[in-house]
């Protein structure tokens, strides 16, 4: 009995999943264009933020990192010896905002943080992931 209930539950679960899968497969070229447009608008916002004063001293990220160079997003998470543990890219973004830019850290889910990450990773598009690399 117990077995049968389990099998039935599984069947129901599969049919629900199946239904969703069919819908999920049905995105169109138009959808792709729309999503890419959404993404690129966030990249653009990230580019704007990256080139503006995010702290309190008029210094901006691009002054040390033209085109996001030398940020190495593909190497995160990695051990950051000065922090003493493995951290994510966003932790280093906040470190830069607090130190060279003399500002307050962003919340980790702040849309500005997402935009900065979008720009930094987009400038590195195509570079193979290499987490942990120094």
């Amino acid at each position: 009995m117990k077995k049968m209930v389990a099998a039935m539950t599984l069947a129901v679960a599969l049919s629900i999943l199946g239904a969703f899968a069919v819908q999920a497969d049905e995105f169109t070229k138009k959808d792709l264009e729309k999503w890419n447009k959404e993404f690129m608008s966030v990249v653009k916002e990230g580019e704007r933020l990256f080139h503006s004063a995010l702290g309190k001293n008029k210094v901006s990220c691009d002054m040390c990192h033209p085109n996001g160079a030398n940020t190495h997003p593909e190497t995160y998470p990695k051990f950051q010896k000065q922090i003493g543990k493995v951290v994510a890219l966003r932790d280093m973004i906040n470190w830069c905002i607090q130190n060279p830019l003399e500002g307050d850290p962003l919340k980790l889910d702040d849309p500005k943080m997402i935009a900065l990450e979008a720009y930094i990773t987009y400038e590195r598009k195509g570079k193979p992931l290499d987490p942990g690399k120094h």
Binding site: N57, V59, D62, M63, P66, N70, Q82, E123, G126
Partner: protein, 356 residues
């Protein structure tokens, strides 16, 4: 003073370790005092002093220039003069240039000035020429001919496209600006250069000082002078030519024909090597052994200044690096190009010199 750990000392050998800790006063002992052409000068560049408001400036960048000035004042024997290599200001503001002049006034040595794009594009060089220096000139020192060029000029059409001086300055200040414009020396200065050099004998050592490199490395970041070849052609008949430049904020050196090129460090911040931007091709000189990748946790890392010795008409460059081992570039007469006295040999290179 740098910390020399036991491990580092053992690794590099006693001689190299001793060289790394040489006091400033001993760096020029390697050449004969007999030659009247041999002398020492210092080079400070790219301080990018940034005005916040009122009397407030970015602390970090002030600190870099102040440190270089202080160390220059401690040089013994004294340098014959100090060159300022351009980009004293960040946005060309009167406040920034005046602030820079005040810090530089603490120098006990005469200063020769080279203009950078950050000093120029707000008022098209007016404050600089009124209060600081000419932008194109030459002088002779101990039988070496020095030429200073304004290499950060650009096309009139670009200069005219901006509504305000502030907008023009901001667009030139952004290194990775897709709406930027390449630097150039321009035909008027090239004509002047020809005339200036006409009276100089071909065996007189020539040292040209410009802000941008007088060769082409990476156009997207203006590591580039559009009419560089024309300038190189004028310099071609001379036996010993060295071009010293700022702008790139990194260790960079090259040899093109008879001309040796050397970049100066910034006192403010380092820039990545163009190969770190994977989307665009570059022409980084193959002979350059890269500086260490900067550690952002050390605010003065990959910044510094230079002590330059004129040795038999060639420039030996002692990069004074605040958070790294000093580097020495010397022209190798046999090879015909400058080499790093320690790291040119690939076996001596260290992991932080790998950029990607």
């Amino acid at each position: 003073m740098k910390k020399i750990t036991r491990r580092r000392l053992l690794k590099r050998g006693a001689v190299a370790a001793a060289a790394a800790t040489l006091p400033l006063s001993l760096v020029e002992i390697s050449w004969g005092k007999g030659n009247a052409q041999n002398f020492t000068f210092a080079y400070i560049s790219d301080s990018h002093l940034t005005h916040i408001k009122g009397t407030k400036f970015v602390r970090n960048f002030d600190k870099g220039l102040k440190k270089a000035v202080m160390e220059c004042n401690f040089m013994s024997p004294k340098p014959d003069f100090v060159v300022y290599g351009g980009d004293l200001a960040q946005l060309g503001k009167k406040e920034e240039l005046e602030h820079g002049l005040e810090i530089m006034s603490k120098l006990r040595h005469p200063v020769r000035w080279v203009i950078g794009e950050h000093d120029f594009y707000l008022d098209m060089g007016r404050f600089w020429e009124d209060k600081i220096s000419k932008t194109t000139y030459s002088f002779d020192h101990k039988r070496v001919h020095f030429v200073v060029l304004n290499s950060i000029l650009t096309y009139d059409s670009w200069i005219k496209r901006w509504k305000t001086p502030e907008e023009r300055m901001a667009n030139m200040a952004r290194l990775d600006n897709p709406n930027g414009s390449p630097f150039m020396v321009g035909d008027r200065q090239i004509k002047w250069l020809k005339k200036d050099l006409a009276r100089v004998s071909k065996d007189t050592p020539i040292v040209v000082m410009s802000h941008s490199p007088l060769y082409k490395i990476f156009k997207p970041w203006n590591f580039w002078t559009d009419d560089a070849e024309k300038v190189q052609a004028v310099l071609k008949p001379f036996n010993k030519v060295t071009v010293l430049h700022g702008h790139v904020h990194q260790i960079l050196y090259n040899q093109i024909g008879n001309i040796t090129f050397q970049a100066m460090m910034s006192t403010a911040w380092p820039w990545p090597y163009p190969l770190s931007y994977i989307k665009k091709p570059n022409q980084i000189p193959k002979i350059t052994v890269f500086m260490n990748r900067a550690d952002p946790f050390h605010e003065r890392d990959a910044t510094g200044w230079s002590i330059l010795n004129l040795e038999n008409g060639r420039v030996t460059n002692h990069y004074k690096l605040w958070e790294n081992r000093d580097r020495i570039l010397r022209y190798d007469e046999k090879l015909g190009y400058p080499v790093d006295t320690l790291y040119q040999n690939p076996a001596n290179r260290i992991p932080p010199q790998e950029h990607y």
